[in-house]
Point group: C2
Chain length 207, copies 2
Amino acid sequence: MNRTPGRPLRADAERSVRAILAAAERVLAEHPGATVEQIAEAAGVTRTTVHRRFASRQALIDALATEAAAKLAEAIEDGHPETAPPLVALHRATANVLRVKAAWGFALGPAAAGSEPAARIHQEVARRCVELLGRIQEQGVIAADADLEWVRRVYYALIGEVLHGQPAIAGAGRTTTAETATDPDPDALAALIVDTVLHGVGPRAAG
Amino acid sequence: MNRTPGRPLRADAERSVRAILAAAERVLAEHPGATVEQIAEAAGVTRTTVHRRFASRQALIDALATEAAAKLAEAIEDGHPETAPPLVALHRATANVLRVKAAWGFALGPAAAGSEPAARIHQEVARRCVELLGRIQEQGVIAADADLEWVRRVYYALIGEVLHGQPAIAGAGRTTTAETATDPDPDALAALIVDTVLHGVGPRAAG
DNA sequence: TAGATCTGCGACACTTCTGTTTCAGTTAGT
DNA sequence: ACTAACTGAAACAGAAGTGTCGCAGATCTA
């Protein structure tokens, strides 16, 4: 049975879909093996309704992954990677991505991978990311002989690292610059990530 | 029923246990939700036998996680973090860890976490790691005001990153230094990781 | 070689989850 | 206000997995 109707849904049905997706993210983030029933309960809906809107558990996860991937792409674009100065764009995009990934941890994680359309979006995002890094490289801020794919992966890894130790990041990075920031706000973390990717943790070259 | 007998196992039974653990790693690495039956089949054993040796599926995973954690700890110690020069120890330990993590990807991954004894070992490993980083910091190779816990997490993240894109790392890092190394050997990768952690991907400070 | 141990085989009860269906009652849209 | 769409409730069949048991035969060990 196809639950991807051509006709537009009624307002309440649309609301249900949103509630289910939001609940799925919430529940699956904590327990990836969670039941459809648990998701339904968290959404304030019956299991029957979930199955009415999503053909299968997998279909639900795929939809979730796709939606989240779209938000991720949007987060990058909101940094204006084309028009803004590359480093500014990178910083803004990083902060945006941190917000999105924090809110859609499961849907953007490995457990939700395998969704075909989502995978395409992620691939496109990676392309844009390398593009932006290339522009930064042209400015000489990234070594000319650096492998941009490796740079991108380091960058991704640090984003992921920052996100799964929320309270652990008190006075992150250099205690002098970041002080004891009690609030792990995305901008400070983005600065930490970008700085670490570019310069590592070694002592600063004078200047 | 307790499958942790006080008496020593017979030789063939011991062999079965080893085969089951090895097969579990192999199978679960590719499909974390794999069945006990699939594991048994891969081990050349019946499901009954698996249950004879491990009280439950979870008990099997816990045993796997614990064994792998021990190998990880061993990998660190093999770098002689106490006696060798800190940077040498870090490099050796990194190469060793890469080997171990490549072979025990599932058992050391998040899916196998939650095992109580394994968790304690991992905590101990992290402590040793920070200790070593502290010694490197004293040498001035890591900035004096850097948060070592953050450094450790960056280090871990890069190790993880290197490991889940095996064939993608052809001419890793700086193409000039690494050339097009067709073989992603642990030592080259370890050098890449350590270098990136310390200096990032920015242009080298002259020298 | 004798006795203890281990294994495969086949079966069993039990639980849990999925996906479907029907139907009566509610809610949105026009 | 009328119709179409949506929902909850309650059941159903079915699949799949887990853990257990007993037994006959193979395999180790002393």
